[in-house]
């Protein structure tokens, strides 16, 4: 699969979230307006508003129980808000899920289920039908699934059982499954009209992956820029920072951060005020080291054309002038 012409350079600075042409097509992929959601008497989200522009890479960060996953479930139509409105691709949530690739938290797939990785990935193209749901398992679908697995570096695992995969491999398989719902997303060039018809929602995709695997994973997501809009729930400000257009903190309410950099304000939003003075310098230093080193994972090293020692990430990430 020829990725070079199709994908963006992950090291390039994030482009504007929305091109003028894309604006003409659809101003927002997701519109959340004043949404409140309660579990019984417990308010999980209160008057949350959020717009995700076509092509935007938005990371949702925040403490556990802050409502990040709930917000994703509301966008998917799995939950109904108590008040407020949500539009996805200009339609009510749930009605456009064929244009959404979803990666749930890792624990939802049973690990002892007798299914191969390929079978699980093929399921990604499932559509509702009279008989509950169906998807193709023919040669073309298999070829498509194998291409995605290849892009994600786990084509060799296609015939393995899900239970035989490591945490990182399993997450990659789940991303391949999510991509299956939109054929040719990676292969095709970005639409000339600027239209980006596909949204990916990832719920803590790197929760069980080591730092190296996490780095590779976000690097891969960076390659999808221009092909998808992306909404990721993550605790990894460190990792999402260089790859995303914007970051929002969700903790009952929602605040969009002014930048994606590791500023004291952003770190405070993530870690809390009590750690404010301590980690900023350390984290900035760690970030610098990490990005100068690059990823040394064999699967990435083979594909990386740039030497690992070169910094391939936005220099703004490493600003030291605070």
């Amino acid at each position: 699969m020829n990725m070079s012409a199709a994908v963006s350079d992950p090291g390039a600075a994030p482009p504007p979230a929305c091109s003028p042409k894309a604006s003409d097509a659809l101003s927002s992929v997701v519109e959340v307006s004043g949404v409140t959601f309660k579990y019984g008497q417990d308010t999980i989200l209160e008057k949350v508003s959020l717009n995700v522009a076509p092509g935007e890479f938005l990371a949702l960060i925040g403490p556990n129980g802050g409502g990040k996953t709930t917000l994703l479930h509301l966008i998917l139509g799995l939950l109904q808000p108590d008040s407020g409105a949500i539009r996805v691709f200009g339609n009510p949530p749930g009605s456009m899920n064929r244009r959404i690739g979803y990666v749930p938290q890792f624990s939802t797939a049973w690990l002892d289920f007798p299914a191969s990785v390929l079978e699980m990935v093929l399921m990604g193209a499932a559509t509702p039908s009279l008989n509950g749901g169906r998807w193709r398992i023919d040669k073309n679908a298999t070829k498509q699934a194998m291409e995605y697995l290849d892009v994600l570096g786990i084509a060799d695992c296609a015939r393995l059982q899900i239970s035989a995969l490591s945490g990182g491999q399993r997450q990659r398989a789940m991303v391949a499954r999510a991509l299956m719902s939109h054929p040719d997303i990676v292969r095709a060039s970005p639409s000339p009209s600027g239209e980006i018809p596909f949204l990916m929602l990832l719920d803590e995709p790197t929760a069980s992956i080591d730092p190296q695997g996490t780095f590779c994973f976000y690097e891969f997501l960076g390659k999808l820029r221009g092909h998808i809009s992306l909404l990721v729930v993550s605790h990894d400000l460190f990792m999402v920072s260089p790859f995303f257009n914007s970051i929002a903190v969700v903790n009952k309410g929602l605040i969009r951060l002014q930048s994606t950099e590791l500023t004291p304000d952003n770190l405070t939003a993530l870690f809390g005020r009590h750690l404010h003075d301590c980690p900023v310098a350390d984290l900035q230093h760690a970030g610098k080291v990490l990005h100068q080193t690059g990823c040394t994972h064999p699967s990435c090293a083979e594909k990386n054309t740039a030497p690992a020692s070169k910094t391939r990430y936005p220099s703004s990430f490493l600003k030291q002038d605070r």
Partner: protein
Amino acid sequence: MDKLPFIQSLQDALSYPFMQNALLASCLASLACGIIGTYVIHNRLTFLAGGISHAAYGGIGIALYFQLPLMPCVLVFSLLASAIMGCICLRRKDSKKESPQDTAVGVLWAAGMALGIILIELTPGYAGEIMGFLFGSILAVPSSDLLAMALFDGTLLLLLYFFYQGLWAVSLDREFARARGLPVRALYLLLVCLTAITVVMLIRVVGLILVLALLTIPPFLAMRLCNSFLLSMIIACFLSLCFCLGGLLLSWHTDASSGASIIALAALAYLLAQLPNLQQRKKSAQK
């Protein structure tokens, strides 16, 4: 040439009509048991299936007290109980004050049995059929029940052919299936209702107390033998049939209860399958 004693014994046993019926019932029950049992263990429905089987005792009580046809009454009662349990399991927990889902199933489990016990005690006369429901009566399966079992198996195979992918998706990853717009609730309730019908069918074979073992042991062993969902279903059907036939022969030779013999054989197979694991743990502990 003289026949082997085993073959001779089998021929003797099968010369009786009640044994022929028992053989047919074993085949029919094994088919449903292997298919539904596979879904039960992969959807973590074992506790719910136990709840349905024990709640079915309430149906027996109602049938005896109000002098209604026994099997249809048990079937309807079990379907109702399973639908309630299924809805409870699907419901989102809105408050900490609400009971957990397994508690609610446990309550229905016990409540069904309590209702059955009370109504049977209030019913005048001796209810001899009850023991058959508690411990199975595969040797006393009438032809009408065989017909009902065959009809259910046929329907089950049709439904499986039609809903296989949907049920597979729900079994693997319910949340993802919902996100893709699949009717997860309907598929789940369908599965729970099919489980209820299978449980009622198996009650005839091994009794409501032992039904869980027959529903879970063959699929569990099948799961260890292969890596394919469909293949594990087929192997589970075969294993279930082996246990039923083996148990029947054991019961024929020892005069023991047929239901208990079937389960004893299945439990023995389960223990044998666990032996390698136990040995491995022992070695790990020694290291």
